[in-house]
């Protein structure tokens, strides 16, 4: 083998600087956030506004004790959707169809919850289960599309999502919608079919527990089980996995099904929470799917990091609105910041990969 010429990236000053950076996995995301915050500050200042007040507003808006309840509930949803992205990400696949899976979950939950008669103790679990099954099955479709027809999962999920969204809003409008309502939405669910409350909190409910359990489960599976190991192996080198006896096709199927199921569960939780009905578009407008994807990317799919990165995007989301209210900084800035974080992160991770890759050359 001939020696490859030294890649010019190694000579890049930024890189030299970055090579000094600590090795701990958390360092990369943190650095990305810091840089992003600085860039954001520049943008705010350029817009003739005061970065400090803006950021202060974001933080106070997000952590204001009065609204903490709400903030936590949003955090739970973003964590949930981060799992949706993270599971396939672990094996090197992108699920961009979270929206479709989310609304299908909402639909299933709404249909089950709508059928009152189910005893209180059963209604919620059954609704959530139904959501998981329907959304999971839908998510799973992308796996055979990839293994049989070679359509990348990133593409098929992307194309399938709007179809699901359209079908759900059609059903809401013409089939299961409330009569005489001005917008397409279901009737309110009976008391028996509403998400169990946590104390007297009005936003956060048992859904939070469920999401936390899901995250713990993912963390265990990822680090402690054969399946999790196989996910990471395939993510690192598909051929190696196949040679080692991993059934890549099945693994992809399982991962996509799990991913979709989680999305479905999140959809169910949101739907079964106040105001206890499924309203057309209400599941998508907060943009949990992309916030979750961003959090997952920022965490590199690592289970332990997701709750942390999710906090960031929760703050940006909840605080963004507050920032607009009190500091008159347009809320779009939170999208800007999220975007910058991800891009900066992508560039930073390269540096790390480079470091190991360069050792790999010899």
């Amino acid at each position: 083998m001939s020696a490859p010429p030294e890649p010019q990236v190694l000579r890049h000053p930024l890189v030299r600087l970055a090579r000094v950076a600590v090795r701990h996995p958390v360092v990369v995301p943190v650095g990305a956030v810091v840089i992003a915050v600085l860039i954001g500050a520049v943008i705010i200042a350029a817009a003739g506004l005061d970065p400090l007040t803006a950021y202060a507003a974001v933080l106070s808006g997000a952590f204001d004790p009065d609204t903490l309840d709400y903030t936590v509930s949003v955090w739970a949803f973003i964590c949930g959707m981060a799992l949706v992205a993270a599971i396939p990400l672990r094996m090197g696949e992108f699920n961009l169809g979270g929206n479709g899976q989310l609304v299908l979950g909402g639909l299933a939950a709404a249909v089950v919850a709508g059928q009152s008669g189910l005893p209180p103790l059963l209604a919620v679990p059954v609704a959530i289960l139904a959501a998981a099954v329907l959304a999971g099955a839908f998510g799973a479709i992308s796996a055979p599309l990839a293994t049989r027809f070679g359509i990348p999962i990133i593409i098929s999920t992307l194309l399938l999502s709007p179809v699901a969204v359209a079908v759900v809003s059609y059903l809401l409008r013409f089939q299961i919608g409330e009569k005489g309502a001005a917008v397409a939405q279901t009737d309110r669910f009976p008391e028996s079919a509403r998400m169990w409350a946590l104390g007297d909190l009005s936003y956060t409910n048992v859904g939070l527990i469920i999401v936390i359990l899901l995250m713990v489960a993912y963390w265990l599976v990822d680090s402690r089980t054969a399946v999790g190991f196989e996910l990471r192996v395939v993510g690192a080198n598909r051929r190696f996995g196949a040679y080692g006896g991993v059934r890549v096709g099945r693994l992809a199927l399982g991962a996509m099904a799990a991913s979709g199921a989680v999305a479905g569960i999140v959809g169910a939780i949101i739907t079964l929470s106040a105001p206890y009905r499924l309203t057309d578009g209400a599941l998508l407008s907060p943009g949990y799917t992309f916030a979750g994807l961003a959090a997952a990317l920022l965490a590199g799919g690592r289970p332990a990091l997701i709750p942390v990165t999710a906090v960031l995007f929760t703050v940006l989301q909840v605080g963004g609105a507050a920032m607009e209210r009190s500091a008159d900084v347009p809320r779009q800035l939170s999208d800007v910041l999220q975007g910058v974080v991800i891009v900066v992160l992508a560039l930073r991770t390269v540096v790390d990969n480079r470091r190991s890759g360069e050792k790999g050359a010899r």
Partner: protein
């Protein structure tokens, strides 16, 4: 809560406080824009402070509502049907707080829950009449943002009005839809183009921010359009016949005034009779409204007559919402 002093304008210190909560980002949604404009006018008139809370989804509506209640303003104003659930409950839980619903009303409202609803359908009926009288191809259409029951208030009555004066007029409705139904001019324009290709020569635009797309299509075809809410003839002179205007400002100012004066509860409905809705063509200053209708005094005459019949109750325009 302070019942708010009498409403004299002037004076630096604000004498009252208002909070407006919208169900979604105002963005390019004309209707919400109109509401916040109205709230501003009310604020000016009663020398009140105004905060606008834009929501994203039911949960954030609730969150904004809670935040608003903590602020203890004189009036919390909620816009559209989407906030009904949350407001109805809040009104029960906080009897001392005054709430005002715009464009929707509760079945059994409490005393502190006032509502102002509009009979947009009466105005749209009249634009329909104009279309029916003006159309040469006997073919008219509507471009609306979404196929939702509420938005049918700009569809069905338009056709009804047209058919009332021109029984053999054919009609077609197109809905923008897509990822951005209230703002995707490209799609709304394409929808209007389809109606034009199908032979329509008068099109009611009910696509919110998308109306501009409809007007563009009108300008590029031998088609004229109708606007909504405000005088949109100004947005595209020469292409807009008339507008089904909606005086959210008037309604808001009046209702807020009533509440501040202590007359609360029940609901006021603003139709042609109350002057809550109307047509640009039926108002003063048609001449320089830039609206095409100005060139058709005869039509204006007939429409005026029908308007009076509606006010008199001789003609009853059906509300698509209650019609189911």
């Amino acid at each position: 809560a302070s019942a708010g002093g009498n409403a004299e304008a002037g004076g630096d210190a604000t004498e009252a406080s208002l909070i407006l909560i919208t169900p979604t980002a105002i963005g390019s949604n004309n209707f919400l824009q109109l509401a916040s404009d109205g709230a501003e006018e009310a604020a000016d008139k009663y020398n009140a402070s105004l905060d606008v809370y834009e929501s994203e989804d039911p949960a954030s509506i609730q969150q904004n509502l809670d935040a608003a209640i903590r602020e203890k303003p004189d009036v919390i104003i909620g816009v559209s049907f989407s906030v009904l659930d949350q407001f109805t409950e809040a009104a029960i839980d906080y009897p001392d707080q005054q709430f005002l619903l715009i464009d929707t009303s509760a079945e059994e409202p409490t005393e502190n829950l006032t509502a102002a609803v509009f009979k947009e359908y009466e105005a749209t009926y009249l634009t329909g009449v104009e279309a029916g009288l003006l159309t040469e191809k006997n073919n008219i259409g509507v471009v609306a943002s979404l196929d939702t029951p509420f938005l049918h208030r700009w569809v069905d009555p338009f056709f009804a009005g047209a058919q009332s004066v021109n029984p053999d007029v054919t009609t077609g409705a197109q809905y923008v839809g897509g990822d951005n139904p209230f703002g995707d001019q490209a799609r709304s324009k394409a929808q209007a183009q389809i109606l034009a290709d199908a032979g329509a020569d008068y099109i009611q635009a009910a696509a919110s921010g998308g109306n501009l797309g409809v007007f563009e299509a009108a300008s590029e075809n031998s088609v004229a359009a109708f606007g909504v809410d405000t005088n949109q003839c100004l947005d595209s002179p020469g292409n807009v016949v008339d507008n089904a205007i909606k005086r959210v400002d008037v309604a808001l100012v009046e209702s807020v005034g009533d509440i501040l004066d202590g007359t609360t509860g029940g609901f006021a409905s603003y139709g042609l009779a109350e002057g809550g809705v109307s047509l640009t063509g039926l108002e003063e200053g048609v001449a320089d409204s830039q609206c095409l209708i100005a060139d058709h005094p005869d039509v204006i005459e007939q429409v005026t007559a029908i308007r009076d019949q509606i006010i008199a109750g001789d003609i009853v325009v059906e509300d698509p919402l209650t019609a189911g």
